[in-house]
Every structure is written in structure tokens, then in C-alpha cells.
Amino acid sequence: MKRNSSLLPSHPHRQPMEDPLSLIPRATTKLFSLWIKAMYPFAAVGHDLSVHPTCLLSRRIAPRIHLGNSVVIRKDTWLNVLPEASGELNIKIGDNCLIGAQNVISAKNLIEIEHDVIIGTSVLIQDHNHAYEDVARPIRTQGPMPGGRIRIGQGSWIGHGVSIVCNQEELVIGRNSVIAANALVTRSFPAFSVIVGNPARLTRQYDPSNGIWMGAAARQAAVVVCSGEIS
């Protein structure tokens, strides 16, 4: 096999350098971040913002978005605020948050993501839903439900493909919680939880009185479901 060909020679004792072509997306991301920081009327925007140019982020809704320091938003992510939105601020993203690629964050009331949250790819967070109860009209003309509010606690990790949907009242994910891949979350969970499945349930939680992580009772049920069926 061909290694270390003539175009970009890498010395056997030295690390291969980064692909120079990767400078192009890095530069466009940097430029785009500077552009939107200068030109978009955000409610607040911190330093070291990084937003990929393919993100769908309308200038019209920027006054309703608060971005903290060192926020990273990856490719193809959509930050949406509905025209029917209520209140002053609808999306609040804290410091050091990482919003992965292909996410949809769609707010009608308030979606608050606290500090140090990491969000994987293909995640959906929405605090409302389509109304569907009028049987005489297509759902697309029925507008949104009143919706609720979502708060994601600091230091949490939201895995790949998670959906967090709140149709009413408040949905709070406590701090340092883990939401496992492809979970569908529709209700609140306390701090230090591990949340899996569709619909989401608690499988593991930190017990502050003993200082250890405990498997929740639901975990036993999960073992029963799986045993004997997957060797």
C-alpha cells in the first residue's frame, strides 16, 4: 500500500500534519462566526463563538437568542424560534456548550441549556408540537400547541439521536445527567440521572447519601426484557 507519497511527505519519526484542506472549513467557520457576531442582533453573545456556515440561524430571530461564551454549533444545526413565540428570550445557551451537527432546537416559549452541556448529533429539542385536534383541517395549518419550557441542567450529556419534546408545563433535566442514544424524553428527570429508551426511563442514578451510583428499579426490568433474547 502506498504510504507517505510525494505530495505531503510525513517523516517516520514525526507526526503527520493536519490535512491542509481542512483549513478551508475552519476558516469559513471562523469567518462566519465573526460575521454573525458582528451583524446579528443577539440578545447576548459571548466570546469564542463558533458557528458552522451551514447552520440555519435566521437574523430575524437573533434578538430572541442568548449565546454564552465558547459556544460551538456544528454543521447543519437549526436554531428556530416560531413566529408565535412568547416572551423576550426563547433560546438560551450557556457557556462552553457544544451543540452537535444536524440538531434541531425549536422554541416557542423557552429552551434553556445551561453551562457545559454537550449535545450529540441529530438531536431534536422542542418545547411545543403541532396541534392536531381539529379533524377538519390538515395538521400543517393548525399551528402549534401552547407548549411548555425546557431546561437542561449544567454539565449534562445528550447522546446521538435523542428527542426532547415538551408539550406542556416544564421539562427539567437535572445537572450532570446522561441521556443515552435515541432516547425520547417527554418528562422531567432529577440531577445525576442516566436516562435511556423510548419512552425514556431512569436506569441509573447517583445516590448522594451513599455517594455511589445506583441502578434504578427500572434497570431490573430492562434486564428481564433483554435476558434470553439476546445472548
Binding site: M1, M17, Q102, I118, H160, N176, A181, V194, S231
Partner: protein
């Protein structure tokens, strides 16, 4: 406005040549400049794919592999670390849009595996057990190893996650859309759900597909 019912297109849209040429050029660039452990012939990689050149020596690619737009091969090891490849993709695999493979120990995808869109395959996880630190700063768990048997199909949005030990999917398995697989499965299984369970399997004694997992007597499935 033409209806297009009587006329049939004789050739492809010439506008398709642009992206095809770009893909060809980018693949050639990868072949000539990236220090892959190995790379077979007729590989086709879209230019939006994410592969870190500094870690390319831990990736081994077979022949006739297609990697579509925005798919990524990630390695959560330091670039200085030398060692055996941690991502091995055998011949004729297809990795579709936005699928991610993230390896720390070993992810081996055998030949003829079809991976659909938005699939996640990782052999490690974020550590979360220190409650005083944000999960983002806690690094990764030890993780396990994953082997995906030949001819397997992994449908849209599925996640295959191995936190510890070894996860092996046998040959010609089907992982249904949006399933979450965290345990091994024998060959010719259909896995479905979150968490995934086997809803259908080929019974080699009856020589037919049966609903649910094949139960006792335990038989040796054709490897």
C-alpha cells in the same frame, strides 16, 4: 411544462459530473496524502467526510468502499499513539449520509455491510460518574470492541454502542431503524427496538425464518 411521460432520459444529468469529479479528486487526494494503514482500490469518499489525517494510520480501508456525505470516522486517541488499526472496514461496505464511527479500541466492519443514514457506532462512551465535573470534561470510558458481521444491514438512525467487553453481530443481521444495540447477536438475527431485542431469526434446523429468537436445542449456526 413537459410531462416527461413519452421522452425517456438517455443519459445522466450532466450536472452530476461536477460532484462526481469532486468526489473522485478528493478520494485521490486522500489516497496520496493520508497515511492510512491501508486503502484498497475503488474507494469513494465524499469531500465532506470527516477523517483526521493525524490519526489516519489507525484506519484500514478495504476495496470498493463508499462513504457518503457528512459521514465520519473518528478516533478518540492521541495522534502520537502508534499501534494497530482501530477502525477496520472491509471490502464493499457502504457508509451512508451522516453516519458516524467513533473508535477507541477496535471497530471491525466486515465485508458487504450496508450502513444507512444517521447511524452511530461507538466502542466507548463519555465517563459521567464524577458528579463534581461537567461530563464534557470527564473524558471517555475504557470501552470495548465491536465486530459487525459480513452482509449485515444497519438501518437509519440505529446506534450500536459497546461500553465494555465485546459486541459481535453475526453475519447477515438486520438492525432496524432507530434501534439501540448494546449486546451481541448471533448470525441472521433481526434486531429491533430501544433497547434492541431479536424479533426474528433464521432457524437452521427448520431452514426458515422464525418470529422471536431461536430457542433450545442450541444449535451451531452456520458461521
Amino acid at each position: 411544462m413537459s410531462t416527461g411521460t413519452t421522452r425517456r432520459a438517455r443519459s445522466q444529468d450532466p450536472l452530476n459530473l461536477g460532484p462526481r469529479l469532486l468526489r473522485r479528486l478528493y478520494t485521490e487526494w486522500l489516497r496520496r496524502t493520508y497515511p492510512f494503514a491501508s486503502m484498497g482500490s475503488k474507494v469513494s469518499i465524499h469531500h465532506t467526510c470527516k477523517i483526521d489525517r493525524r490519526k489516519a494510520h489507525r484506519i484500514k480501508l478495504g476495496s470498493h468502499i463508499r462513504m457518503e456525505k457528512d459521514s465520519s470516522l473518528g478516533i478518540s486517541l492521541q495522534p502520537e499513539q502508534e499501534g494497530d488499526p482501530v477502525i477496520i472496514i472491509d471490502d464493499n461496505c457502504v457508509i451512508h449520509w451522516r453516519s458516524q464511527i467513533g473508535a477507541k479500541n477496535l471497530i471491525h466492519i466486515e465485508r458487504d455491510v450496508l450502513i444507512a443514514q444517521d447511524v452511530l457506532i461507538v466502542d466507548q462512551n463519555h465517563a459521567y460518574e464524577d458528579i463534581h465535573t461537567p461530563i464534557a470534561d470527564q473524558g471517555f470510558t475504557e470501552g470495548g470492541r465491536i465486530r459487525i458481521g459480513e452482509g449485515t444491514f444497519i438501518a437509519h438512525g440505529a446506534a450500536i454502542i459497546c461500553s465494555q467487553g465485546e459486541l459481535i453481530l453475526g453475519r447477515n443481521c438486520v438492525v432496524a431503524a432507530h434501534s439501540v444495540v448494546t449486546r451481541s447477536a448471533p448470525p441472521y438475527s433481526v434486531l429491533y427496538g430501544n433497547p434492541a431485542r431479536i424479533i426474528r431469526q433464521y432457524d437452521p434446523l427448520k431452514e426458515e425464518w422464525v418470529t422471536g429468537p431461536v430457542r433450545a436445542p442450541q444449535t451451531e449456526l452456520v458461521p
